[in-house]
């Protein structure tokens, strides 16, 4: 039996940590006597932005991390959130293979699974807007949203996660970008008035295995991981239901929706995609076009 050390870039028990925790549970059950994952924990065990590097160097064997946390090692990772195809489609059309080669080459990591498919990002606001224009609004961003919101004229600020609640309450920021799932983990719903629909991009939370470890596993051990990866990826289909529940919960917490339709919806989504791909082109000029053709239409 081989034991892999696993860490999570997300706080244990929160929305984007759970699929990996379920994955570990199933591997440890199905792989009894063959393979076991020792779950060391979340950010207290590894700074989120170091999980990618730790998988690369073998300090951990398997990690759960969003691409936004390892773009420093692999700029092409910026494109993962821009995918419009599901991971199952990506496995069929060669996108997964191309991305796996990049992961192996840039960060010595086997791209085992992608969760978060079908979970869009949204703009959350405390001031209403009536068209896709953010001029005059101060928005808290992470690198995921920077290019898009900047293109729409927003005034961008970075705020430490622990300060966002206070910043919202005091009006230091007028809004923030976040996935449709997860704001309840942070308590931000208490200080948020609007969610802008539709969502844009989609969350990618990836399970990566150190490639040296991957190569050393026996075929049976790899089969357990691959089968469980397929299982956890199939569960991405559950996200639609989880999203709907989350939206109900947000409504119950008093969040109103600002919905763009027709031409405005087109403009909103196009601005998001173009800003995202323009940034990929800027930081990964060689592979940007190929990635776009594989991941999006």
């Amino acid at each position: 039996e081989v034991t892999l050390r696993g860490v999570n870039a997300f706080q244990e028990g929160t929305a984007f940590a759970k699929p990996f925790e379920d994955f570990i549970g199933k591997v440890n059950e199905d792989g009894k006597g063959l393979i076991r994952i020792n779950y060391i924990g979340g950010p207290r065990a590894m700074p989120p932005f170091e999980v990618g590097n730790a998988v690369k160097t073998g300090v951990v064997d398997i990690g759960n991390v969003t691409s936004a946390f390892y773009t420093n090692l692999m700029p092409e990772a910026e494109s993962l959130k821009l995918a419009t195809r599901t991971i199952q489609e990506q496995r069929k059309n060669g996108a997964w293979e191309f991305l796996n080669d990049l992961h192996v080459k840039r960060m010595n990591a086997y791209y085992l699974a992608r969760t978060g498919d079908g979970v869009p990002f949204h703009l959350y606001l405390n001031k209403p807007i009536d068209k896709p224009d953010l001029k005059g609004l101060t928005i808290r961003v992470t690198p995921i949203y920077r290019a898009f919101f900047a293109d729409l004229g927003a005034n961008l600020v970075q705020t430490a996660p622990g300060e966002v609640y206070t910043a919202l309450e005091r009006g230091v920021v007028d809004g923030y970008g976040w996935p449709v799932q997860g704001i309840f983990d942070l308590g931000w719903q208490e200080r948020t008035k609007f969610r802008v629909d539709p969502g844009f991009y989609q969350v990618d939370v990836n399970i990566l295995v150190n490639n040296d470890v991957w190569k050393k596993l026996t075929d049976e051990q790899r089969a357990v991981l691959t089968k469980t990866a397929a299982w956890v990826e199939e569960r991405n289909a559950l996200n639609a239901g989880i999203n709907a529940k989350e939206m109900e919960r947000q409504a119950a917490a008093g969040l109103k929706t600002i919905t763009f339709a027709g031409a405005e919806k087109e403009q909103w989504l196009k601005a998001a995609a173009e800003a995202g791909w323009a940034y990929v082109k800027k930081i990964a000029p060689d592979n940007a076009d190929k990635l776009r053709s594989l991941l999006a239409d």
């Binding site: 773009t71 420093n72 090692l73 700029p75 910026e78 005034n155």
Partner: protein, 161 residues
Amino acid sequence: MRAYALILDAFGLLAGLGYATAAAVTAIDVVLRNSGGDSIRGLVDLIEYGLFASTFLAAPWVLYKSAHVRVDFVVDALPRAARGAAGLLTNLAGLGIALVMLYYSVRVTLQAREQGYLVLKSVVFPEWWALAVIPVASAMLAVEFGRRLFAAAQPGGRAEL
């Protein structure tokens, strides 16, 4: 020796000036934002990396000034000879720690450089620019621990920390 002290002092003063500048620019940023203007681009990143660089680069100066907090009540209670031995041991340990940090920080910096790691924040720059601060600081720490060790080994010298 005077030049050495001057260089270390300069890093201390630089750290202090850095804090004062950060305060002034952040205050301007607050005023700008609350009067409807834009935030200063990249200010948060600049402060974060400034905090990192100033801490590492001024740490050897703090060591030189014997201002790193330490638990001294046990050592102070020891007889003179034992106190000297403890001083030698701790300076030797410090030198070892600084050399380990130097070796691995050089490796990490070179790796980041060779592989082209980027910091992708509101400004984009090679990660090794930031990492390179650590080997510089570690080398200065090693020199300072070495100086203390040497001073303590002189006849009549005192192993201070």
